[in-house]
Amino acid sequence: MSLVLGAFSMGLILSLLSLGMLISFRMIRFTDISVDGTITLGASITAVCLSAGVNPWGAVLLAVAAGAAAGAVTGILHTRCRIQELLSGILMMTALYSVNLRIMGRSNIPLLDVPTVSRGFEHLDAAWAGADNKINLLGWPVPVSDMAALASSAVICVATALLLRYFLLTHMGTGLRAAGNNPQMARAQGLNHQAAIVSGLALSNGLVALSGSLLAQYQGFSDVQMGIGMMVWGLASIIIGEALVRHNSIGLVICGTVLGTILFRLLIAIALRWGLNPNDLKLVTAIFVFLALVAPTLAGKLRKRLCQGVVHARD
C-alpha cells in the first residue's frame, strides 16, 4: 500500500514537470532540454532555503521564479541570439549544473527535520489519525506523514492544473498556443511570436522548478544529479497521457497528462517491485519513449502493407 501511495505522491509531484513540458513540447513546440537543469534548480534552491529556515512556501515561490527566469533565458538564447532550439537548451542545462552546485555549495543537501509544505497537512491529518498516529485508508493503516505528503501534492497539483487550464483559455494563452501551432498565422494576427516563445518557456520551466521544489521536500534531499533523464520521464508521461485521453480539449489534455504521470510512476513502482534493476530504469524509459514515437509510423506502414496484400490477392 505504501508503494502505491508513494507512486501517487511522486506521480502528482512529477505531473507538474509533465505539465511544464506539455507547454514547451506540445503547445509552443519547443524541444526544451533545459528541463533537466531547471528541475534540479528548483530542488537546490528549496534545499538551501529550507536548511536556512525560510518558510517552505516562500522557498517554493523562489524556486518557481528562478525556474521561470532560466526558461526565459533559454528562450532568449533561441529567439534573440538565434541559437538552435536544442543547443539553447543544452547550453542552459550545462550552465545550470554549475549554478546548482554553486547554490548548494556541495553536490547533495539532505533535508531532515525541516518543515516542508506538507507540515500544515500533517496537523490536519493528525486530527483523523488514531492512537498509533496512522490513518485508516480503505482498510490499510497509513502513517500520517505519508498521507500529508499525498494530500499536499494533490492540493498543489490540482490547483496548478486548474490555474493552467484557465490561463491557456485566456487571450494570452490562446496566443501562446497559436504561436506554437502556426507561427505564420500568429504573426499575421499581430502576435509577437518570439515573446510568446520566451514567456511560454518561462511558464514551462517555472512549473518544472515547482516540481523540483516539491520533489526535494518529498524525498528529503536535493542532489545535483537528480535532474538527469527527467526530460525523458516527462515525455513518457505526456505520451501515456495522450494515449489515455484522445481529445484536444485543454482540460482533458491536462487531466490526461496528470493521469499519465501517475500511471507511469505506478508502472515503475511495479517494475521495481518485480525486480527491475533501478540502474536499468532510464534505459527502459528511453526504449519506451522510442517505441511510442515510432509505433504510429510502424503501424501505418504495416497497415499499408496489409492493404496492398489484400489488393494483390484480389488481382
Binding site: T174, A178, N181, A186, A188, G190, H193
Partner: protein, 270 residues
C-alpha cells in the same frame, strides 16, 4: 494610404543564387482602391506583398502607411493595420485550434492580449453571427479543430479573420490559386463582397486574367522586379484579357531586344 517608394530587394546577394526580386518598385495605393498585381513568374508580385507585410526588410526604399514610415517595423507590429490571406489555405489558420479560437485571435489583432477568458458567451455569439453570414454551415462547428475543414472553408475563414477588424490594407496573395474551381469562385465572390462593403484598400496578387479584369479597380503589371504597366480609372474599365496578354508580350519582347543590346554595349565599352 499605402505609399511604396523605390523599393529594392536582392535575395542571396553575392552568391550563385542571387535574385534581384525588386528593382525599384514605386506606387501608391489610395484608400478604398482594390488593386490587382499581375505578372510573370518571378516578376516580384508576391515579393511586393511580403515587403508590405514585413516578412523581410527591403535593401532600399521606404514604405509609408498613412504617412507613417513602417519600413523597419517587424511583421507582427504591422499586422495591427494589415490583414493577410495567403496562397496556401493552411497557412492562415492554426489547424489544431478550433474555429472560434482562430477567430478570437483575429479579434485581438494589434490589441493587448490579456488574462481574460478568450471565449465568453457574448464573444461566441458574435462569432457565430458573422460565421453564419458565410453561408457554409460552419456556425454549428465553432468548436471543431479548423484542420478538419476543407481548403475553401479555411480560406473563407482566413478572409473573414483578415477583415474582422477593418485593416488599412488587405493583402491577398493568390488566395484562390490553390482551391478547386468551385471554392475559388466562392472565395473570390466573398472577397469582392467584403472589399466593396468595407470600402477596403486591397492588394491582390493573381495569376488569373479573368480575376484581374473583373474584380479590382486597378491593375499593376510587374516584370523583372518593376511595375511596367498601370491600368486605372477609364483605362482599367476598358481593358480586356487580350489587351493584358498583348501587354505581356510587348514587355517580354522589349526585354528580348534590350538584353542582347546591353551585352553588346558591355562588350564594346568594358
Amino acid at each position: 494610404m499605402l505609399e511604396i517608394k523605390n523599393i529594392h530587394k536582392t535575395f542571396f546577394p553575392g552568391t550563385v543564387n542571387e535574385v534581384k526580386a525588386l528593382q525599384g518598385v514605386d506606387f501608391t495605393l489610395e484608400d478604398g482602391v482594390f488593386t490587382a498585381i499581375i505578372g510573370t513568374n518571378g516578376s516580384g508580385k508576391s515579393t511586393v506583398l511580403n515587403a508590405v507585410a514585413g516578412t523581410f526588410e527591403p535593401d532600399a526604399g521606404t514604405i509609408l502607411l498613412d504617412g507613417r514610415d513602417i519600413t523597419h517595423w517587424p511583421e507582427f507590429r504591422r499586422a495591427a493595420f494589415i490583414g493577410r490571406v495567403f496562397q496556401n489555405p493552411f497557412a492562415g489558420t492554426a489547424a489544431e485550434m478550433s474555429i472560434a479560437e482562430n477567430i478570437v485571435m483575429a479579434m485581438r489583432r494589434g490589441k493587448r492580449r490579456g488574462l481574460g477568458p478568450a471565449l465568453g458567451r457574448r464573444t461566441l455569439d458574435e462569432i457565430a453571427d458573422r460565421v453564419r453570414e458565410l453561408k457554409m454551415g460552419l456556425e454549428d462547428r465553432l468548436h471543431n479543430p479548423i484542420g478538419t475543414l476543407s481548403g475553401g472553408q479555411r480560406q473563407a475563414l482566413t478572409l473573414l479573420m483578415a477583415t474582422w477588424l477593418r485593416p488599412k490594407v488587405l493583402l491577398l496573395d493568390e488566395h484562390t490559386a490553390a482551391l478547386d474551381p468551385k471554392s475559388a469562385a466562392k472565395v473570390a465572390e466573398l472577397t469582392s463582397e467584403i472589399i466593396a462593403r468595407e470600402k477596403l484598400a486591397a492588394l491582390m496578387v493573381t495569376h488569373s486574367m479573368q480575376q484581374a479584369v473583373t474584380m479590382p479597380d486597378r491593375i499593376l503589371m510587374m516584370h523583372r522586379g518593376r511595375v511596367v504597366e498601370d491600368y486605372r480609372d477609364e483605362m482599367k474599365r476598358r481593358v480586356r484579357i487580350p489587351d493584358l496578354i498583348e501587354a505581356f508580350n510587348r514587355v517580354t519582347k522589349r526585354e528580348l531586344f534590350t538584353e542582347p543590346a546591353a551585352a553588346m554595349l558591355e562588350r564594346q565599352y568594358l
